[in-house]
Symmetry: C2
């Protein structure tokens, strides 16, 4: 039961897919290349995945699960004030902008750009990854709006999706510029928007007991 010795071929293929698709894109990554990177044969590939498209779906699901677990385990949730949680989330996103481009850019966003027209299945899985991550933000935004009652605030869902849009766009620009600097700047401006939006017009320091 306990198989700790070595990741199974399926897992190694998914990890190879995560790396290769983030660097090269989906269409430019061949099945042979994936097998070579994972150290398995083509037979193993098509044993675990019915097609290259099925691997794309599985890779998007794998991305949703791994990133979901990463953010769920992060400690920005510890802040009692939901707005503090959101700011700490942005701090975390900024801290994650390290290493090479393929180390911090989003697999789901890359997939969406490429396959939105050719593969509904991959599109749905990749969108699910983005959307479910936005869900976790939406909760905090909804609480922040309820608590701080800013004037003219958009819906929580819109704020959550906007946050994801800024991140996705920041990745595109980072790929153009070749480094994460521009992405960092974008996060700074997003942070300023939220500060301006939630800025107290009257100061209330009462803390909801939790």
């Amino acid at each position: 039961m306990a198989k700790v010795a070595r990741p199974t071929a399926r897992t190694r293929l998914l990890e190879a897919a995560r790396r290769l698709i983030r660097t090269q894109g989906f269409a430019a990554t061949s099945v042979d290349e994936l097998c070579a990177a994972a150290g398995v044969t083509k037979g193993a590939f098509f044993h675990h995945f019915a097609s290259k498209e099925a691997l794309g779906v599985a890779a998007a699901d794998f991305w949703r699960e791994t990133t979901g677990a990463l953010f769920a385990a992060a400690d920005y949730h510890r802040h009692p004030d939901p707005l503090d949680r959101i700011m700490a989330y942005l701090d975390l996103r900024e801290a994650l902008l390290a290493g090479e481009l393929q180390d911090f850019t989003c697999l789901a966003g890359t997939l969406l750009q490429e396959v939105h027209h050719s593969s509904p299945a991959i599109t749905a899985a990749a969108w699910s990854a983005v959307s479910s991550h936005a869900d976790t933000l939406e909760t905090d935004f909804a609480e922040a709006i309820a608590l701080h009652a800013p004037a003219g605030a958009p819906e929580a869902r819109q704020l959550a999706l906007y946050t994801q849009a800024v991140l996705q766009g920041a990745f595109v620009l980072a790929k153009g510029q070749g480094d994460a600097g521009v992405a960092r700047d974008c996060l700074g401006l997003l942070r300023q928007y939220l500060v301006l939006l939630f800025q107290p017009r009257r100061r209330h320091e009462n803390d909801p007991s939790t």
Copy 2:
């Protein structure tokens, strides 16, 4: 120079590339497919372009020129106040969110996502398209900052690039959701950020936080 009768093979190839790459991506678009869509033979393709990569570079340059001309000719420049020009620019961008995804998404952004690691030449050309468009916005932002003197405003360049990031991210989300609605929402929130940033300071409460 004036060949009005029928677009030359080169132009038809570039138009086909614009359409096909926006819908399918660069890697998923084959030379044969491009030739068929443009109604030319492979000989014509390789007469005008040394390689598929060279076509990618030319397509990015074509994109920069055509979109550059479109925005240069738009009438949002007529407003005397630079902030009005920026808001009218956002109105135009929102109005352009019509039709199918491949009709309003950005060729340069799509190219950047795909080829940032495999083709420095295409990356440079696509980034030049984004960057030169940001240049035109940067001018307006610089004037708006000088005129309205908002407190804590970022650099004009950062604002221009942030605007592009929001647009690029909005396109990614639109591809995930399958329609432009989410992109429209993102533009709305970007507009709100600029309103908050440039709005004249009213003194209701002093916030001594840094």
